[in-house]
């Protein structure tokens, strides 16, 4: 089997055993990117030279007997919303086209310190606003399972890169599901850590009270390994949790043993009934979900049904809170200090404000404009109490729902997304249909609790991947890994190998 199809954990072992060098691994992934990314378009920028130099440095460290971390030498892709010194960072927007940040995000600093060569920057919906990667100003990413379909979003580039074996690992960010939903529709694993568990320093903010960076991988163990490298307190982020991370890799290894005796799993009523609910749950997604729940029972878990009655209002609360925060965060793109500057035509001696208006019109796409205007509206005097104020109260009610649910269960489960990947273009100009993709993932962001999406199989109707979401209380991220690894082990046995073995190989698939 070629190196690119191995897990990050296997690659780390092979590097440690001297069976392969980081330069060879990095080159193998660069070759794969060259072969398939014309069709997939997961990357906005590939840094072959930089990645190979970092790989050579990793090999030198290993030769000297001093690897920097468990994943030293294993290459990685980074979502283009993380600033990278010397590498372009666009956030999928024209307003940042060609911008080269003068500093690294803390996540990137930690990756560099741990010795992971950075292959490049991955595609995303503009400023992470979207569920399909179609809102990227640089063209959509294509789902490796079916190139005519969406890879999810906003982190469709990271998920597709991992699913297409262009990278063994990637970094994503999740504000309302942007790590977990792409994971579900590409048959990969994605983790949104507890809010504050991974530093936001250098993450270009969408909604500061919701944003959280996390791992995008093909296995649960790989996510745990990566999470331990990027997670933990950072004094540069005042919302960073000042506590040590739980033992995540240990939890994943324990879970892979398959014994969940004594664990209480809560099935969220409001997110697991397809009749009469919001969003139109696809039957094949529900069937795979129910089978996964049955496997948890078989592993010894006790299943209880829990009701979270306010979750039905989560989507509405989110689409008031997020635009409000986004309209404020995106005010910094003012054409004065970095990024695009457009001087309007037909105005004599235009003012800074004229330039700002013209630049923001030319530099922002439709979805960004929609949300900035919506946020400006929600924060207007006269509407503030009715919209933003109410949304903040609903946020309290959703947190209380979680608290009550976690008294009855150690983890909660639901399908990650209501459907499998839809066709590119299908929902592009229908914002509400697009927003409904994140129905199940949004409550975790509003409450700050951690969640993981694990592949649950292929839906019968279309043969496309579906995902199951596992949620844990804040700071108990280790539970995600224990339960996720146990389920993954049981499913792998059932499938007779990784789900991605069933995906098209994409060889000779360049468009």
């Amino acid at each position: 089997m070629s190196w690119i199809r191995k897990t990050a954990a296997e690659l780390a072992d092979a590097l440690a055993a001297g069976e392969v060098t980081s330069v060879e691994l990095t080159q193998a992934h660069l070759d794969r990117i060259a072969a398939v990314d014309g069709a997939v378009h997961a990357f906005l920028h590939v840094d072959a030279e930089g990645a190979l130099a970092q790989a050579a440095a990793s090999d030198a460290r290993r030769a000297a007997g001093a690897p920097a971390s468990a994943l030293d030498g294993v290459p990685i892709a980074v979502k283009d919303v993380m600033v990278t010194e010397g590498l372009p960072t666009t956030c999928g927007s024209k307003i940042l086209e060609g911008w080269i940040p003068p500093y690294d995000a803390t996540v990137v600093t930690r990756l560099r310190e741990a010795g992971l060569p950075i292959l490049g920057k991955t595609n995303m919906d503009e400023f992470a606003m979207g569920s399909s990667t179609e809102h990227s100003a640089y063209g959509a990413t294509h789902n490796p399972w079916d190139l005519d379909r969406i890879p999810g979003g906003s982190g469709g580039g990271s998920a597709a890169a991992v699913a297409a074996f262009e990278a063994p690992l990637a970094i994503g960010t999740d504000t309302g599901g942007s790590i977990r939903q792409p994971g579900a529709v590409t048959g990969t694993v994605g983790v949104k850590p507890t809010y504050g568990g991974v530093s936001r320093y250098g993450l270009v903010a969408l909604a500061s009270s919701l944003d959280q960076a996390g791992p995008v991988t093909r296995t649960v163990l790989d996510s745990a390994l990566l999470h331990e490298i990027i997670g933990g307190h950072d004094p540069k982020d005042s919302t960073s949790v000042d506590q040590p991370l739980p033992a995540l890799v240990e939890a994943a290894r324990l879970g892979a043993g398959g014994d969940l005796s004594g664990l209480r799993v809560g099935v969220i009523t409001e997110l697991s009934r397809h009749e009469g609910g919001q969003g139109g749950w696809q039957p094949g997604v529900m069937t795979r979900f129910q089978e996964s729940v049955d496997l948890l029972v078989k592993a010894g878990a006790e299943v209880v049904e829990v009701s979270c009655p306010h979750f039905v209002h989560a989507l509405a609360a989110y689409y008031l809170i997020l635009p409000a925060e986004a309209s404020s965060n995106l005010a910094k793109f003012d054409a004065m200090r970095y990024g695009l500057r457009v001087v309007p035509e037909g105005i004599d001696n235009p003012s800074a404000e004229d330039v700002m208006r013209a630049t923001r019109d030319a530099g922002f796409g439709d979805e960004v404009k929609r949300r900035i205007i919506l946020g400006t509206y929600a924060l207007s005097s006269g509407y503030y109490d009715a919209y933003y104020g109410q949304a903040q109260k609903v946020r309290t009610l959703i947190s209380r729902d979680f608290e009550a649910a976690f008294e009855k269960a150690d983890v909660l489960v639901s399908p990650t997304a209501p459907t499998t990947a839809f066709k590119l273009g299908e929902k592009l100009d229908d914002p509400i249909a697009m927003y409904l993709n994140d129905l199940a993932t949004i409550p975790a962001n509003l409450a700050g609790v951690p969640g993981i999406s694990v592949p649950s199989g292929l839906a019968d109707e279309d043969g496309l991947p579906a995902g199951i979401q596992i949620l844990a209380p804040a700071l108990a991220d280790d539970r995600l890994y224990r339960v996720g690894a146990a389920l993954e082990a049981a499913l792998l046995e059932q499938w007779g190998g990784p789900l991605l073995d069933k995906a098209p190989t994409l060889e000779g698939g360049a468009r």
Partner: protein
């Protein structure tokens, strides 16, 4: 809940410093109405005694020691600027003729 008119969208875009042309207003205004309709249900959900949550974690102020730490050099800070003059960001005029 009020419907959002085309004029209101134009006003909001103005507040948000985005020049929208007529075609964009025609396109975006009806979509914003639909979005607002779909979130309008929120006004009836929570009673007055429910406290608002602005942040997922119970954090208050976070302080650090008042010591100098490394930061960007002027060259780094100006490296992405559209225009630079005398080691400063050069911007278009900021005052109107009457000012």
């Amino acid at each position: 809940m009020p419907d959002i008119t085309r004029d209101e969208v134009a006003h909001l875009a103005d507040l948000a410093r985005i020049d929208l042309d007529d075609a964009e207003l025609d396109h975006l205004a009806p979509q914003l109405s639909v979005i607002l309709e779909s979130v309008a249900s929120i006004s009836a959900v929570a009673s007055d005694d429910i406290p608002p949550t602005s942040h997922a974690l119970p954090l208050t102020n976070v302080f650090r020691d008042d010591v100098v730490v490394p930061c960007l050099t002027p060259e780094q800070a100006l490296s992405g600027a559209p225009a630079v003059e005398q080691q400063r960001f050069a911007v278009p005029r900021i005052l109107g003729d009457e000012q």
